[in-house]
């Protein structure tokens, strides 16, 4: 427990640095798609670490028993699985991640309000900002690749009221649900990071053949490939996002 805090702090620091560098992107998107992709992959990988949120939450809520830990690790159906993400075309992938992150952001905010004056409160606050940053980068990535998302412009972190929390008849169940949500959040981000890595690897291979605008071409290729597909026009029909 004690050993985890410095690691978490380091992770947070790394993420904050990434976020700082990304702050520029919120004002204006980067023109370098490889750089943006690399940044997105790093962000996703870092936020995929359970030491960032899940473990502190488990310890705070006294869920640190084998049974309860196992209960936490039930992957919520509300998050698209890695296979699902990998099967999506690139535009749909970006759109799905963007939408899912928006819901994650709201859920983190709700979770933050449930846990005032606790040790996880600042972590949740930071996580919310990080998610906002990743969303902005995804927005920029889509914009950069000439396929803007059908969503509003990147929002400032914290703007927009979170929906009022629903009635929680059982705090125990809420604890488990939150725990599962955090597990799902980290797993989802890990999956996103791996998909981005595949993009990067594919981009590197393509760049060897055509160094410039390979990602753009890859994107367009993906986009043109999905257009005829009905299902791809409605990614949400394949991915159930709960919020």
């Amino acid at each position: 427990m004690r050993a985890q805090f410095p690691q978490r702090t380091l992770l947070s620091l790394a993420l904050s640095l990434l976020f700082l560098s990304m702050a520029r992107a919120t004002r204006g998107c980067s023109s370098s798609s490889p750089q943006l992709l690399s940044q997105l992959q790093s962000q996703a990988n870092i936020t995929g670490d359970t030491r960032l949120l899940l473990e502190p939450y488990i310890l705070l809520q006294e869920l640190n028993t084998p049974t309860l830990r196992a209960a936490c690790r039930e992957y919520p159906v509300t998050f698209p699985s890695e296979d699902t993400l990998r099967a999506l075309s690139k535009p749909h992938f970006l759109s799905t991640v963007y939408t899912t992150l928006g819901r994650i952001q709201h859920q983190l905010d709700a979770l933050r309000q449930q846990s005032p004056k606790t040790k996880v409160f600042p972590l949740l606050e930071r996580a919310k900002w990080n998610v906002q940053g990743i969303r902005n980068n995804i927005y920029c990535m889509a914009h950069l690749l000439n396929h803007p998302l059908e969503t509003p412009n990147p929002t400032e972190a914290g703007s927009g009221a979170s929906p009022s929390t629903t009635t929680t008849p059982s705090i125990f169940q809420t604890k488990i649900d939150n725990c599962r949500f955090l597990w799902g959040y980290h797993s989802f981000m890990g999956s996103v990071g791996r998909v981005f890595r595949e993009w990067k690897d594919g981009s590197s291979r393509s760049r060897r053949h055509s160094p410039r605008h390979s990602l753009l071409r890859a994107w367009r290729k993906g986009a043109s490939r999905i257009r005829p597909s009905r299902s791809s026009q409605s990614p949400m029909s394949r991915v159930q996002v709960p919020w």
């Binding site: 705070l60 028993t65 049974t67 309860l68 039930e74 005032p116 004056k117 059982s170 705090i171 125990f172």
Partner: protein, 984 residues
Amino acid sequence: MPSYRLQTIRPMAFSVALHPAFLLVVLSLKTSRSEVLGEPFQLTPEILTVSTESKLQQVNLQWTVPNLTHQELKMAFQIEISRINTSNIVWVENYSTTVKWNQLLHWNWKSEIPLECVTHFIRIRAMVDDAKYLPQNSWSNWSSWKEVSVQVSVAPNTLLIFPDNKLLEEGSNVTICLLYGQYLYNVSCMLQKEPIHGEQLDSHVSLIKLNNVVFHSVSGTNIHCKAMNATKMIFGTVLFVSKVLEEPKNFSCETQDFKTLKCSWEPGVDTALVWSQQDSQSYTLYESFSGRRELCDHRNSHNWQITDDSQETYNFTLTTENNLRKRSVNLIFNLTHRVHQKAPHDVTLENIDARKANMTWKVLSRGNNYILLCQIELQHEREVIHEHNVSVHMSASYLFSDLEPDTKYKARVRCADANHFWKWSDWAQKEFCTPEAAPSQALDVWRQVRSENGSYVVTLFWKPLLKSQANGKIVSYNIVVENQDRLSESEHYSVPAPALGTQLSLDPCSYKIHITANNSVGVSPESVMVLSNDSGHEEVHEKRIKGTKDGFHISWEPTSGDALGYVVDWCVHSRDQHCDLQWKNLGPNTTSTNITSGAFKPGVRYNFRIFEKSMQQKAQLLEKQTGYTQELAPLENPEVTINNFTSNSFILSWPSYDSDFQSAFIEGYHVYLKSKEMQCHPKGKRMTLPDYWVLCEYEIKDPEQKAFTVENLRPESHYEFLVTPYTSAGQGPNETFTKVMTPDENSNMLLKIILPMTLCVLLIIIACYWKSQWVKEKCYPDIPNPYKSSILSLIKSKKNAHLIMNVKDCIPDVLEVINKVEGPKTQCIVSGNPHNEDVSMKPPSSVPTEDGSSGSVPFFFFENFTYDQSAFDSGSHGLIPGPLKDTPCQLGLLTPPEKLLNVLEKDYMKSLAESPTEETSLIYVSQLASPMGGDKDSLATNPPMPGHCSEYKMQMAVPGRLPSLALSENNSLTSEILLGQGEQ
């Protein structure tokens, strides 16, 4: 770990048993009274509603008394509650109240079991209990049973746990109830990580009772259950166990300015829980006289504004409250008795000198009659050295005396109300430093005297003055040396601090030495020492003493009765060059002292000297004492040398130890001698060792004896020995024995004969060498050289040309002009005869030519002594026949061939260089006169050919067919023969 005691639910047997007994007593009383006052009457209550509050597990009962005709009637009600079925009565309670006409009555009851889990039943009956009316002698009829239940539906394969999110206090008990849905069985529950078990009420309900729950976490204690047939589903509830709200402690209020009352307390543990179950406890202040109530801003203090100046007495109630409990403390006080005075101000220190200082300060006063009590403290190095209390009206002063010069102090003052002491104010403080004063104490001085080159070398030592004696920073030490023999002479020395000694070189006279210490203000009293002529030369007996681990006890015999005192001195480092002299001054009546030091080490010898100081400040050496705090075994053995080594004995000897380097007093030596089948001396101890070795041990009890003779040894035998010293602590290290072997018995005799003989032979050789010239002259004189003979000059002077033949005078028969022949063909032509000693004639011999013919070529040769002067000098003016037995140039042997060969090697190097392929024999032939001299080619092709020796100036041409040719058959000529020819 939570220590919940699981308990089976039992009916409230005690209550049930107690209440009927109580009612019987009441009824008997009523009966007796009704008999007196008249006929009883019955009023049966009617239940209107029975409701529940699930969260609180509470049943609320509402009823009326329908037939009440009185405006008011005091009545008693009895309420019964049963669980599961009406016969299982779990609670009976009597409730008395005054009932008004048509009044709705209320009563509630909290169930220990969640109402969702079991059905309860409730009924009520009444009895008039009013003294104004005839008392009822019996209860009314019971109302009908009313069912109390909270309907919950449990879905199949699910489990409901009650109570949910229960808030309770640490130490309380709680009953958990599990409602099983259909198809669910084998449910196991855990409280955090501990399994918990319950009692099955029926097939769908079980109860778990937890006693004395403990606080686990602010986020609650999780209870989770899992059914065996639904492994993936987890059910649970959270118990929010709050810490017990504590009563505020040390609640007090005070004022500094009569405008604000500052109330403070110790709040105790925070009882807040997360998930909005419970906030931190609140604190409220209520003042009863003013009726004001204020919620406190902080959990441990609150500032209460004084709005009414006339209010002197305050009655405060501090209440703390959380969701479960409320606690209060009360405080009543007079405002003037709770005045916390502000710290004094304008603290100053005036007229500071080396010994005293005056402090002044002011206080905040509330009127002429207001008296404050002030406490003054003087601190030095955080230690209070002076404390005093004074009464103060507006301002005050205090004089600190007996201060130390050159010292930092901290003066501080605090005040309080003198009439109603409540609390001291904060300190007001000031630091100051007293100035320096002259040193107040004479230096503790001592000296060490030694003679060097006829003068005294006096080393003076002194100890630094204590701070309380120095009264400031010592700048220097002044030394005045007065010559007692020549009173007019005195010398002044100044030694800058922080030196603690100096060295003086003095003539051998009596001296009086004055030493003082100076600081910036003045001089210390002087210390005086007198050195007499014999200082440093005293000889006294040295006594051995035995020390302990703490030190040494030194005692001595005084020699005179008028001693001023005694001084004991010693070196801390006796083994080192740096002695670090220590001394101890002792009073006149002292004859012993204990010398202790942390620097004393075991195995180190310490030498103590005891001096007696006379009235004239003269120190006379009384005694020397030496000893060890702890004696140790010797650390090393002496280096032993062997003397007088014979076949039967030898002497072992070793040097003395430096006493300062002894680890103890050496008491003697052990000599060990080891050999095979050896006989020990009777004084030695014999020990038999393995392999027939015998060890003899000899003890030398005199430490001054440094030699030991080992006798009765066998010649040509191996012996091993070891010499080791011993002290009271043991002997030296067991080092390797030194091996020796005794010599042969005859070796000495042989030595006695051979040595003189050798010397004699050497002397004869030397003598022979010296006389070698003489021997040579006598035995082997040099052959005289006729050219150098005086006779020759005599003949020349007489111009007698007939005696010695001259070349010019020769009339040759045949004259052959010798030219250098080009080409390899060489030819020697011999003509003429030798006429003198310088000419050596060789018989002609066949010379191999280039064409391979080995014809007989006549040639002649000369021996030219000017060519080889060294050969001449060494008498080697003969020719080597050379290895050329077959060569035509057969040479006569006049000198030993090796001599000539040496000469040739030495002097004919040039020729060798020109003809590197030639052998030494060829160099030899370079002396030959050849008509084809310089023909190198011929040399290369026919090395043994004498032809190329012929480039030599012919000195004489001799006819080749001289009678001497007959000699050529002989192939060797003696010098005698040649001489004979020469003479001819």
